[in-house]
Symmetry: C2
Subunit: 436 residues, 2 copies
């Protein structure tokens, strides 16, 4: 077994996510044999530093010994049980811990399997909250340049043409307000006020990805926007949904991004890092006020009856508890501060390069936006290929290179990661499209 | 720790799926301490035979030794890696095996995390197929009484008022044709022809749950409907999506329900049993013709860019491979035939009882529909409570009691399961509403 034979076998059967399969006529698909710590290893003996945490999910390294030990314990006892009418200790422990570490008014939790499903639950629950009070509010407001997932509800509140435009005839119409990541903050806030006034009484919720619009080219904005947005939503009487699927669990420097704004959303959606990159799990936290709107005699017909078969999956909850153990035992947020500082020191000077438009960073997310390249050149793909040759795995979004490493990355590995990208930025050949 | 203390702790934090939480003021929520084989055990020392496979997912028992051994092997090597640009052996093996055991024209696979997400992928892919050929076909046709999941696209193609009505203002409008589970087969086929003629050129796909509309009160219909529907879809030039999320992996007696109709759908959605009840995983299989419609130069803009972070999760794929191993090594489909026969023999006589409207069975799914009870009596809930006292866990859908046990259930356990329900059916007190 080597890379080539496995790649060929894969391409016979598999359609990969977010991939134009024809690209693999030129770009090798890489079969990964094993993962350990911050590294993944292919079948040809190459190893790569996983600088994007395997799509923003891995926190404490691949095949983490502590998490593995907890999985082994759990499967010997209970792998899964139906979560309607029944419960189990891993879910109770996880729910309690999440309620305790998220902002004060968030008191209840609903589990699901992936980020998209969590967004769907927040949308459905916010809509039904008003419906249960005899109001129909069919609109949702999100930000320009936003991304919230791929199922049809989640896709509808996104603003990425790349993922959404082709489906416009089958998606719910939603409203996008100006984004503070692209505009002046005051302009964005004024626009939000205008939108909520225009659709007064029709909007169930505003949904945002706090601080970093990750799939939206890692565009960033300040906590102050969120603080003010909270007041605007309160004044307009609409819910605020915070999509912390990518930015939660320490990614932006604090455990949750909303903390930096000193506010709480009405719904908080979590996934990705929640299992440290091991397996799918998501959840939505919300207030008791929301919970109460669904609490009534069954025959009143106001129940929230959403479900997925694996809701509250026992194994995934056990893994999530192991992840929270590591956060507590290893003082992760504090230790990350040092790494965040080092990444900042190393990447800031890159902003002076001719082909760099901006270097921006929020905690463990650092993005380098390039300039002077035509979109059709797919310069990001070239950076991916060249960095890989040096053992550095990055996955640029268009012309935005970014780092979002596992938290166990060492200072030496951070230095290597940045230096490889720096060298490529300085390499004239890249801009000339030599690397086709 | 006992049931009561854990229940109280749970109810402080958790909103359970498909549950009116107020019900738990009267009905205890049961904390499960461990699972082994066909049984789950609570914290007060009670054990229950899991007669519905923990929501139709468990196939080979809880905490299955073989599956556990495969999980332990896998986590030491690779728990997960990004599935865009990279791949891994468990996914390749699983894809190859699934393509080989599903109907011939299904050649490619796309992974996701839960059943709803699989349905969303089939809907989006079928719509975009036509869009890539410059046609917009915004309609989907499903059957009366159907259920396909909870995310907004999946919910839109369902027909269950209980789950869907409250959201009608925010769901895509779809068309429902008459169901062969509620009507004469010819009438249903004629209606489907009429619907497809009426919306000629506007329909992307017809979606069905083959043989058993599971969440639709376990209503059943014959393979001949599906065989004829295949021709109708071909003649109308629309895709046929088979939702085998609940009915796949042996549930209806054959490995996949479509086999009994001797046809292949264009899209086959799988989940639930795919991991033997261990953890979320889903996938969609489809034809090379469909695959080819998305295969082009990236800049042509015809890519199918759906993704979830954990798409192709390594651990889940390893578990699914273990499940397929068991099917092969233990000759499961053949062995189930005996159990299916026994369930049939034991339950058929129940049809003669006054309060039984119908006993119907398709493979390892057997439903007993009650009559003479008012919906507000919630008679199913009473059966649930009483059966539980005798160590039998069932979860009736309204006034339909059903069995969908794990395949490892023994003949003795089948006898116990049926006899407990039989005794309750004969108990006059139940109909008088004594068990409030």
């Amino acid at each position: 077994m080597n890379n080539k034979t496995l790649m060929e076998e894969d391409l016979t059967y598999i359609f990969h996510p977010c991939t134009q399969m024809k690209d693999h006529e030129k770009i090798p698909l890489i079969p990964i044999k094993k993962g350990k710590g911050a590294y993944i290893y292919d079948f040809d003996g190459n190893k790569y530093l996983d600088c994007i945490s395997s799509w923003w999910v891995n926190l404490f390294g691949h095949s983490n010994d502590y998490i593995n030990s907890k999985i082994k314990e759990q499967i010997e006892v209970l792998e899964h049980v139906i979560f309607a009418g029944f419960t189990h200790k891993p879910a109770i422990d996880l729910a309690k811990r999440l309620v305790h570490i998220t902002p004060e008014p968030l008191k209840k939790i609903f589990f699901a399997d992936n980020g998209s499903s969590a967004i769907e639950i927040a949308l459905k629950m916010s809509f039904q909250y008003f419906k249960n009070k005899n109001e129909s509010r069919p609109l949702f407001v999100s930000l320009e340049n936003s991304y919230h997932g791929e199922t049809m509800g989640a896709l509808a509140v996104g603003d990425s043409g790349l993922y959404k435009d082709v489906y416009s005839d089958i998606l719910l119409k939603t409203v996008q307000a100006k984004s503070p990541s692209l505009r002046d903050e005051d302009e964005a806030l004024e626009d939000m006020k205008k939108v909520l006034k225009k659709y007064d009484g029709k909007v169930s919720a505003v949904v945002i990805e706090p601080l970093v619009q990750c799939a939206g080219s890692m565009k960033m904005y300040n906590p102050s926007y969120i603080t003010k947005l909270r007041t605007i939503c309160d004044n307009a009487g609409v819910f605020l949904i915070a999509d912390e699927i990518a930015v939660g669990f320490g990614r932006t420097g604090s455990m949750f991004a909303c903390e930096q704004a000193g506010i709480s959303p009405d719904f908080l959606c979590l996934s990705k890092g929640i299992t440290g990159g091991y397996m799918p799990l998501s959840c939505v936290l919300f207030t008791n006020n929301i919970y109460d709107a669904f609490y009534c005699d069954y025959n009143e017909g106001k129940s929230f009856l959403d479900s997925h078969s694996y809701t509250g999956n026992t194994l995934a909850c056990a893994v999530a508890n192991a992840v929270l153990d590591i956060f507590e035992n290893d003082n992760v947020i504090e230790k990350n501060a040092e790494k965040i500082k080092l990444i900042s020191e190393l990447t800031k000077p890159l902003a002076n390069l001719n082909n760099v438009k901006e270097v921006r960073q929020r905690g463990m997310i650092c993005a380098i936006e390039l300039q002077g390249y035509d979109a059709k050149q797919r310069i990001g793909l070239k950076f991916f290929q060249e960095a890989l040759k040096e053992g550095i795995y990055i996955r640029p979004l268009g012309n935005v290179i970014y780092f979002m490493p596992p938290y166990i990355i060492t200072n030496e590995e951070i230095k290597k990661m940045v230096s490889v990208v720096e060298r490529l930025l300085l390499c004239n050949n890249l801009s000339k499209g030599v690397l086709r």
